[in-house]
Symmetry: C2
Subunit: 208 residues, 2 copies
Amino acid sequence: MTEQRKGPRVTNQRKPRGPYRKSAERREQILQAAYEAIDEHGERASLQDIADRVGVTQPALTYYFPTRDDLLLAVLERRDVVGKTSAGPPEGGSMVDGMVGSARHTTEHPGLAKLYVTLSAAATDPDSPAHAYFRDRYRTLATEVTQDFEHQQDTGDLRTDENAAHLARALLAVLDGLQIQWMHDPTVDIAAIAETFARLLAPQPTTD
Amino acid sequence: MTEQRKGPRVTNQRKPRGPYRKSAERREQILQAAYEAIDEHGERASLQDIADRVGVTQPALTYYFPTRDDLLLAVLERRDVVGKTSAGPPEGGSMVDGMVGSARHTTEHPGLAKLYVTLSAAATDPDSPAHAYFRDRYRTLATEVTQDFEHQQDTGDLRTDENAAHLARALLAVLDGLQIQWMHDPTVDIAAIAETFARLLAPQPTTD
DNA sequence: GTCTATACCCGGATAGAC
DNA sequence: GTCTATCCGGGTATAGAC
């Protein structure tokens, strides 16, 4: 009832073969073109623009991505994650590295950053295709960072006088918020402010 | 070249009288209707919807607001500020009160919150009418909060081991970020997390 | 000066031919 | 599986009635 399927359903499907091979490639081409178009022109990129890049007509896109939002969402799923998923793995770099990496990604791909914020807002509607995506995404990120924080509290790398889950949510909020501020004023030093915030999370010597 | 004026130019004009009286009232009606429509349906509210509420035709709106973005921006200028400008006055409540107030406003007017985020993203384009608005807004807020923080550092109400300007930007970022998270998951306790963040700003006993 | 009627354009969606 | 043709809806521009 909620989902009408028209395309070849390549996503989370088992290895496509035969007639689906070419379809998968086309889909990949379209995705790539959409990614580039949006990276350059932000969300204003029309289906026509994207179709032109691929060399097909606009309705052809519809065959692979039923609606424009579906395509935009696919673009987000493809790469935007890069800048964020690395925010809290217990191994390797701390979350500070993750924050800086995230900031890096944002400043280097303003078009995608803008798309992210725009879609994020649009996804408030339950009928938006991106709704489930964003909800799960935030939930997953929050959970991961929380676990990482709890671990750091055990090892003495994080202040223990505050709730790890709250600190995790605050961290994610700072990242998103700084991203927005930077979009409006590129002189905002995301990295420096992120590091400032990170220091706020340091363990407390004495908490009298 | 950039601005074509069609409407009566009531904004930042001296007290309208005579033939302008009615114009100002209509403008107010439209603004009110737009506010309500957006409060209910978010940014999806079309000019037609708004025109219907007022009881005029859709093109009539363009007489007062040349473009849709102009109207949306006017809506933001009207009320959204309520939830935020109170974030940092040195007198009366601390910024925590401001944060909670902001959170309150967000949760009570999700449609406006969504519009805020959406327009904020769209305003990245320099040709957007909202561009100057948002840029000035963030700049002003940052300045105000920074000054408030510097004052609190003097009075010993705020940790002095971090840059006040950076802390101010971080505060604003947390607010915006929490707002986004809440839009996607209403169970996120904005107030609690905001208070957690506020405690991170407390003065440090000993900074070994 | 205020507003309606009309018409235009663009973008996304759909139907059906090939 | 892909394209042509078409529709529809929304925002915008213009002409002119009151």
